[in-house]
């Protein structure tokens, strides 16, 4: 069984450690916030200028001046701080943020990522993604392993314009958890419950490295 978006988010949440400052991108990464264990202290950074992002407001309590990087209305928490866009990217560039979680259209076996442009079709812009991937110490990508046509998005080389080079270290998809090795290659670490290694192999266009028994993901 391949994972739902919520399950991908739940699996990624296990990578978050006590004391982390975390930046969550738009899409599946935003869902990760719902699964952070309550017994650890984590501060969420929103690159429009907020540390300590709280949950969505209750109906009637929305504040147009308080949004996240996805332009959603949010709340602050005790201990939150607000700053301008330059300082926000200053702390990102200076590697004060421990973990960045973002989506991708393609990732290559050497850790390149493409997630901002489809030439001739979609021109939305990179937002903060290029700054984040160029500076983050630790990046986890949440993405679909294959597109709707069943074609792999884990490639030997990206076909779309790049967002960053050699920067991705870990990927969680609907099928698997994979590490991108420093010397290149997708190392299969875990598989989704009921998904076979063979199926993951078929779904991975880039070089897949399989060593020993590959355990199923554990969500506890």
């Amino acid at each position: 069984m391949s994972l739902s978006k919520e399950e991908i988010a739940k699996r990624i949440a296990k990578e978050i450690k006590d004391g982390y400052y975390v930046n969550l991108g738009i899409g599946i990464p935003t869902l990760v916030a719902n699964y952070i264990p309550e017994d650890i202290n984590v501060v969420l950074q929103s690159e429009n200028g907020l540390l300590g992002m709280g949950p969505f407001p209750f109906e009637g309590e929305e504040d147009a001046d308080l949004i996240n990087a996805g332009k959603q209305t949010i709340t602050t928490l005790p201990g939150s701080s607000i700053f301008d866009s330059a300082m926000s990217f200053g702390m990102i560039r200076a590697q004060k943020v421990d973990l960045t979680i973002l989506g991708a259209m393609e990732v290559s076996e050497n850790g390149d990522i493409a997630n901002w442009k489809i030439p001739g079709k979609m021109v939305k812009g990179m937002g903060g993604a290029m700054d984040l991937v160029a500076s983050a110490k630790n990046i986890i990508v949440a993405m679909q392993h294959v597109n709707k046509a069943g074609e792999s998005k884990l490639l030997s080389a990206c076909t779309l314009p790049l967002t960053g080079v050699k920067c991705i270290k870990k990927i969680v998809t609907e099928l698997a958890v994979l590490n991108v090795l420093p010397e290149g290659g997708f190392q299969l670490v875990e598989r989704a419950p009921g998904v076979s290694v063979e199926f993951i192999q078929q779904s991975t266009a880039g070089r897949l490295i399989i060593e020993g028994e590959i355990p199923e993901m554990n969500f506890d």
Binding site: L66, S85, G125
Partner: protein, 233 residues
């Protein structure tokens, strides 16, 4: 004290003419200078180069200027919320320079700090790096990016005084303070213009030296792009 108060948006933008380069504060529709955008639409100045993180939506913010074809070139990091923008871009009517968000903010900062350029790793190895100087520091590559050179910066603050001092509220701060520092002429519209002396000097985000004109705006709509709520259990 130098009095910087003008009567309103119309007077504040009176010398913005065709071909000007203007910065506009805000992130999405949060903290945008609504009054000045309306005045620019009414004045219908053309061939503008606009530096702004986003391009508004089809019927609000900078989207209103795009609809009237007032913008020749947009310098932004993310423009995904505006269908008319995408149409003008794909048809070649609009020139667009998409740049990383941190680069955008820091190029403003550099202008306000009197520094001609910055080095940033954002965009190394991508099409953003094409034609740019690369320097290696401690084994890592960085791109040389120049400080912005804008004729006008237009920002929105929560409170301000006649001396031009500004205080921003919540995440509507975003690009506003760095753009306020970066314009040759900076125009600030504020929700509340308070008496000089009322703002605590320790709490001022933008010192008045950076601001040339200020006025109290009116009829703020403060439209919310993605109203997201949770239900009380």
């Amino acid at each position: 004290m130098i009095n910087k108060v003008v009567s309103g948006a119309e007077e504040a933008i009176k010398d913005i003419s065709d071909g000007a380069t203007i910065m506009l504060g805000g992130f999405g529709l949060c903290g945008i200078p609504e009054n000045c955008i309306d005045a620019l639409v009414k004045k219908n100045v053309k061939n503008l180069t606009c530096i702004s993180n986003n391009a508004g939506v089809d019927d609000f913010g900078i989207g209103l200027m795009l609809k009237q074809r007032q913008v020749k070139k947009m310098i932004s990091s993310y423009v995904g919320e505006n269908a008319e923008f995408e149409r003008q871009l794909l048809s070649g009517e609009l020139e667009v320079d998409l740049i990383p968000q941190g680069t955008l903010a820091t190029r403003c900062l550099a202008a306000g700090y009197g520094m001609p350029a910055i080095f940033t790793p954002a965009g190394v190895g991508t099409e953003v790096a094409e034609g740019k100087e690369i320097r290696n520091f401690d084994g890592k590559d960085y791109l040389l990016e120049y400080a912005f050179d804008a004729d006008f910066a237009i920002v929105k603050a929560w409170k301000g005084d006649a001396a031009g001092n500004l205080v921003f509220r919540s995440t509507s701060r975003n690009f506003n303070p760095v753009m306020a520092m970066a314009g040759k002429i900076t125009i600030a519209e504020v929700e509340e213009l308070v008496a000089v002396g009322e703002l605590d000097p320790d709490h001022i985000h933008t010192p008045g030296i950076y601001v040339h004109r200020i006025f109290q705006g009116k009829d703020y709509e403060k439209r919310i792009e993605q109203r997201t709520v949770r239900v009380k259990s």
